[in-house]
Symmetry: C2
Subunit: 629 residues, 2 copies
């Protein structure tokens, strides 16, 4: 049975999603790609996730009425973490201060993650006095007296005398730190742009910023066209190992994709490519090395060795990027093995260096990376856990695109949410987690992960759910959408095999977390916070992720979604040299843990595949549709 | 009358010169390009200029017998500053410790100018452990652990993984400071060479050194082929100002010349060009800028502006030098106007920063540069004084090559020394100074520079000299070589006009010296030392230079020849990073003085053209042939 979905539109981005009535506004916003501030963990106590209902209506929660001034509540302000979508279509305005974005942070100077705009790239307009007999210093000295003790590359030194004399001794110096990067006629100091690139195995996201103001000008994303060479990093590495010329081909493919993004960003913001002076790249080790043309072959075999670890600063022209020819490319530092620049960027965005209590960062993308912060030191590891969450290896799995079942709730019947509000085509990662968690709660799946036959199910399960259990090849599967409900006319199942895949993926992450914790003598309960990052992370229901053991069994107020942390980290590094230094410090303080070396990994992994037997109940109310009193 | 000359051959260089009997060995060595240590100023008190007579004989001076052990005197050891060439052909061995050369200084560690071999270019053989599961750091980190925290340029980072794995994790890292410059298979750490280039307006001298041992391997020189574009810097600058493309042409001409030198040096020492990793260039502002392709047009008009002042570190490949493609080129810092890298190199070689008392450095090449060191600060200026000393603008003038009269002594008759022991063709700079000084002593030239007619000459001048005074166009000239004595069969004169040219050249330098002294409130007598540099400087007779006012009227023990200081400075910078830093400190502490801006310059210049009326007598004995008691 498919419930009637409601359209919710968010301003100022204009993005819309369809959600079930009873969905939290916070969750709906997340689905629309809008991450809100939730320092209190969504308990309705901090008031930071305040939004305004522009069209439609929602009841104000008692918490909102305690926190917000009465006139604001009257004007339609609500706390997104406490307010539920009802039957009516909604248009919701997100105030800048509620958004969780780097640029906003710069403008509002939020204390927790305040960042001073101090980009590496700066521009300085200069007006020099022409030389006289009494002031006959060299051209270079004259320029330096105006713009600081800059290093002048030879090609620019050759241009300098002609430039100064033909432009009446004035112009704009483009600087990268203390290195002169270009000389431009007139005052172009306001025209300085940079692009932060989150270079994922599957998706590439680029964000264009003004380096003069810190303002975000445009964002654009596309499929990483390297998927044509293989879906995951291992297949792309194999390609390089087996074919001469594949490295160059993969490198050029990445550069072309980024050039396409740059073109789109420039068009949408009306910014010339020649005014873009810096590109920041954050990706996993394989993506970063392929982009740079650095042979990743050694990542394709034990002991998984990277070419570099410290950050790289390269010339855009060397790599073939279609921006200003003098532009710089900053490639994030890497930690080891498959723990790459995206993890460092995520640690930076999550401010792991400021964690007062032990903190855990879990970033689930095509791979899963885990970082544990404790006493100012860090341990990081990666697992191949991601694919299942992206729908890979799931019988009727698919990515979270139109037609994907993205949410499953079990009451007396099955309630589904489908992306794009169409008939379902398949199931994506979040719904997989939902389905298994809900079936665990009903007793239809047991702790070992077996889907019980109708005869074995404990009493009390409603008949319509029992009717969905079907046998095939001696295993039981669960019908999520009946033949008549799906796009193809065929039923969509949760297969027993899918549950096994989820157990493997979840077990890998859980075992990783447990091993990292044990290495420093901590238990899950010692964690002050669990930060869930990655595009996928945004859409997970914490209660369900915790139910299946993907997240530790700690109270919900310690579990935070931090959005696409790698992308946010890339933005921070673009806008602040201090953040880059911080990234390098984080790298140096981080130990790379190879889980396969831990003598207890196999044992831990086996145990972690078992689902937890009990459930913490603190999140049930706010996240499970229909559970609202 | 031409006296019988004696051949003197110096070992180990094998160079020979022909000199008049009665010439000091010190002077003969200088003529052969061998500069000896003379810390005592040639007074016979320090014993540093000790040489050994291998064939022929010379009487030992009393000073030598006081200083040298008796058995050494018996074995033929003499003090070059106290010993005179007699009638016999000589072969003289110069012990390494008596030679005044950078490489020797390194080996002997002479306290005054001790230099630690610490070249910017170093090579380190490394043997890395292959990565294991327990030691899986990145390739870059593994290399750095062995060779230090080096910066790895991107092109080398791309080569790194393949290099390490195909060479069994060992090889040689070539470093420029902390920057990786190359990776070589096997242990090549002994094969590291560099070339110091003294890039003169007229002559280019290259010296090949082993950077591993500091040893000088070969030296070679050639005419600067840019003379085809004009003899002096002004004509070459005009060429650039007037012709598009001339800058590139002049740049390539310089590079081709240096490449030819590099080829010769490599052949003569058996060293591959690919093992040369560094070129140090010291030249005047115009030569350095032309070599770099940096437009010198602004040096062609008031206020004479340079493109750069701090040292440049460039890529050999960018400039087209035929050495290792990764090699670096160090171009000396410049001070201002026409005071360029050769002056800084000279200051470095002269250790002006260690001068305890005020010191004056005078470097006479195609231009003349003057530096005054006082209280840890420096003033530098340049004059166009050089050409006359190189024979330019002198009626029968020529360079100091075969056939040039290079020394003139007046006794009852004229004694001449001709380079190559042939009939004279013309007169070079040293002989011009000699002739004028000697004629001043005889009273034949008066203080105003006029050559008196025979009738006006004071009594006591021998008749054969009076007979050489001839009248033409109302002026008197002096016959140096009679018609029958010269190569052409025509007489060679010292023309009245030549004396005027010498007065202009000498006056410019003397005025420069006086103005620099006055700016800091000093008089010539306050000078602790006058250091005479430049190839030309080596051959000047101090007593004669002082007589005509080219050198200040101070006692001879304060006047030192320091040889080709620019070339020596280039060698120091090649062999020691500390020396480079010192060069930059010297530059920053040096004020460029534009003489034309001094309100008293014209007055000073006019007065300086008058010859001094009196003569200090302390040097007469040792330098004037025939004056030996």
């Amino acid at each position: 049975m498919k419930a009637e979905e409601v359209k919710v539109t968010f301003q100022p981005s204009g993005r819309s999603v369809f959600v079930l009535p009873g969905t939290l506004l916070l969750e709906a916003a997340g689905r629309a790609g809008v991450v809100l501030q939730t320092p209190c963990g969504g308990r309705g106590t901090c008031g930071k996730c305040k939004v305004r209902i522009v069209a439609g209506s929602c009841v104000a929660a008692p918490a909102a009425e305690r926190i917000l001034p009465a006139e604001q509540v009257q004007a339609g302000y609500r706390l997104a973490c406490q307010t539920y979508v009802e039957q009516e279509r909604l248009v919701i305005d997100i105030p800048a201060e509620s958004r969780f974005e780097a640029a906003d942070q710069i403008l509002t100077g939020h204390a927790d993650r305040g960042m001073t705009l101090r980009p590496v790239i700066t521009k300085r307009f200069f007006r020099l006095a022409a030389p006289t007999k009494l002031d006959a210093g060299s051209d270079a000295a004259r320029l330096r007296a105006a713009v600081g003790a800059v290093e002048i590359p030879f090609a620019l030194l050759r241009r300098l005398p002609g430039f100064l004399r033909s432009h009446d001794w004035q112009g704009t110096a483009v600087l990268a730190g203390n290195r002169l990067l270009g000389l431009e006629a007139g005052d172009t100091s306001a025209q300085a742009y940079g692009v932060a690139v989150d270079l994922g195995t599957t998706t590439v996201v680029g964000t264009l910023f003004s380096l003069a103001t810190g303002e975000e000008k445009a964002v654009s994303s596309m499929m990483n066209p390297q998927v044509g060479f293989g879906d995951d990093v291992i297949s792309r590495i194999s390609r390089v190992r087996e074919n001469d010329g594949a490295l160059a081909e993969l490198q050029q493919t990445a550069v072309k994709a980024i050039n396409a993004l740059i073109r789109r960003l420039g068009e949408s913001a009306g910014v010339h490519a020649r005014d873009m002076y810096e590109i920041v790249i954050a990706g996993n080790s394989t993506m970063q090395q392929l982009f740079c043309g650095l042979d990743p072959s050694a990542l394709g075999e034990m002991p998984f060795v990277q070419v570099f670890d410290g950050a790289l600063t390269l010339q855009a022209a060397t790599l073939g990027l279609a921006v200003n020819p003098g532009a710089e490319v900053f490639v994030f530092p890497q930690i080891g093995g498959f723990v790459g620049g995206d993890t460092v960027a995520g640690m930076l965005a999550a401010r792991l260096d400021h964690a007062g209590r032990p903190a855990l960062l879990i970033d689930i993308g095509t791979n899963g990376e885990i970082v544990l912060a404790h006493d100012g030191r860090f341990q990081a590891t990666s697992t191949a856990a991601g694919p299942a969450f992206e729908g890979a290896r799931i019988v009727q799995g698919m990515r979270a695109t139109a037609g994907a079942i993205e949410k499953v709730v079990l009451r007396d019947e099955v309630l589904l949410n489908v992306i794009g509000n169409t008939r379902p085509v398949g199931i994506c990662g979040t719904a997989l987690i939902d389905a298994v968690a809900e079936l665990l709660r009903k007793g239809i799946i047991d702790e070992t992960g077996r889907i019980l036959s109708a005869a074995d199910v404990p009493p009390g399960v409603p008949d319509p759910l029992l009717a969905r259990l079907t046998e095939a090849d001696g295993q039981t599967n669960f019908v999520l959408a009946r033949a008549g409900e799906s796009a193809s006319g065929e039923p969509i199942y949760l297969w027993q095999k899918d549950v096994r895949e989820l157990q493997l993926a979840t077990g890998a992450i859980r075992a990783g977390v447990n091993i990292l914790l044990r290495r420093v003598g901590l238990a899950p309960g010692d964690l002050g916070s669990v930060l869930l990052a990655g595009a996928f992370g945004n859409f997970i229901r914490r209660s369900n992720a915790r139910r299946i053991g993907l997240l530790p069994q700690i109270s919900g107020d310690r579990i935070h979604f931090i959005g696409n942390a790698a992308s946010l980290g890339a933005k921070l590094a673009l806008l602040s040299a201090d953040e880059r230094e911080c990234a390098d410090r984080l790298r140096r303080k981080t130990e790379h843990v190879d889980l396969s070396l831990d003598p207890e990994f196999q044992m831990e992994f086996g145990m972690a595949m078992m689902f937890p037997s009990e459930e913490l109940d603190d999140l049930a109310r706010e996240e499970r549709v229909g559970a609202r009193p």
